[in-house]
Symmetry: C2
Subunit: 223 residues, 2 copies
């Protein structure tokens, strides 16, 4: 497939990666893959110059990221007022062990998104966003559980952040050592890291006759 301009994020002052630009990308599909693999994002906003960075869950539908929570949340209250936001998702893929302390690094994939969030007030879009949210965490989960009732829908603040201004940064592969250091007797290479799911733990009040569904037994994240 030929890459067209519409598959790339526009480069602006904010989202242009300045350090190590060879590790950056503006490819939408790559950003979407990273966003779909991640489970939490870190949302940044500033109130009178004071930054806050709050971890939260999210979902994606097309070119929008959804976050949600209580209308009493300081973060959501701030963002619904149209405050500029920076939302970052980072996947840690490994430790990079070089022959010198200086060249130690990490392999990672991250997406940094800039923009302003909008309140999702239309109930149907809200419901679709909440479904995306649940299915993002555990695919196939939505159909098994009780859907939000009108009170829950009303009592949940959902915000949408458009995916217009974003960038990907990533590092893969071996360490890059100084030429003369390749003769040192130090071990060098990578320790791959992955977020791994262990055996599901049944709720203490779950009746014995309810078996653990296959989609939970086979739950994995990434590759």
């Amino acid at each position: 497939m030929t890459e067209t301009d519409s598959q790339l994020f526009d480069k602006t002052d904010r989202n242009t990666v300045k350090r190590l630009p060879q590790r950056s990308s503006y490819d939408r599909e790559l950003a979407y893959q990273i966003l779909d693999e991640g489970l939490i994002c870190h949302v940044g906003f500033a109130i009178e110059g004071q930054p806050f960075v709050i971890p939260t869950a999210y979902g994606r539908i097309g070119d929008k990221i959804y976050i949600h929570g209580s209308p009493a949340s300081r973060m959501l209250r701030s963002l619904q007022g149209g405050l500029p936001v920076c939302l970052t998702v980072t996947l840690l893929d490994g430790l990079v062990l070089a022959r010198s302390a200086f060249h130690h690094s990490m392999n990672y994939r991250s997406v940094v998104i800039f923009g302003k969030a909008e309140v999702v007030s239309e109930l149907q879009e809200k419901l679709i966003a909440l479904k995306a949210f649940t299915e993002h965490i555990v695919p196939q989960r939505w159909d098994e559980v009780r859907s939000p009732n009108p009170q829950e829908l009303q009592g949940t603040l959902v915000l949408a952040l458009p995916l217009n201004e974003a960038s990907v940064k990533m590092r893969t592969g071996d360490p890059l050592d100084d030429k003369e250091d390749y003769n040192l007797p130090a071990w060098a290479g990578q320790i791959p890291l992955a977020l791994t799911a262990k055996t599901p733990i049944r709720d203490s009040q779950l009746p014995l006759e309810i078996a653990t569904p296959d989609y939970l037994l086979s739950y994995t994240r990434g590759c």
Copy 2:
């Protein structure tokens, strides 16, 4: 051991957890455990109201968090000017699957730190910080690798963020469902998640006679 005031972070307007305060803590030792288990932090700062959230590695010595990088980094250049910073470390411990979509949640431990970073210019402290940095990622690594030379020391900007104003937020255990939902036939419980190290990958240029050290073969993070 009796808990004294000095083992707690002071509560201020910024670091007081407002949402679900029963999940918060101001215990230093707990914050240090989370910081020592984490590998990356998300650093937030704002330039003219525009927030930036950047993932980076870090180290801790006592009541200071160290971050480092190139003096050309926008983040470090901004922070060394005394801009307010918010540094957050999040460990994701599991997915919490409730009987209703609404009560789905995650188990996690996070530390949010507020303050201003200071440049570490004294060479001895800089070296100690870089050692803490390497040992934080892989304990026992520092002694195996080449130490920073004077050029590398000069060419690395190290910032220290004091651990004075911070808070911990965490969730553990089963989902909390509405009373009437406990009768639903949906599976409920937790999927525990952990960052797992896989078999080390040797650098493609590593001589065969260099064996993988035990501290890498047995590398784990957390419990």
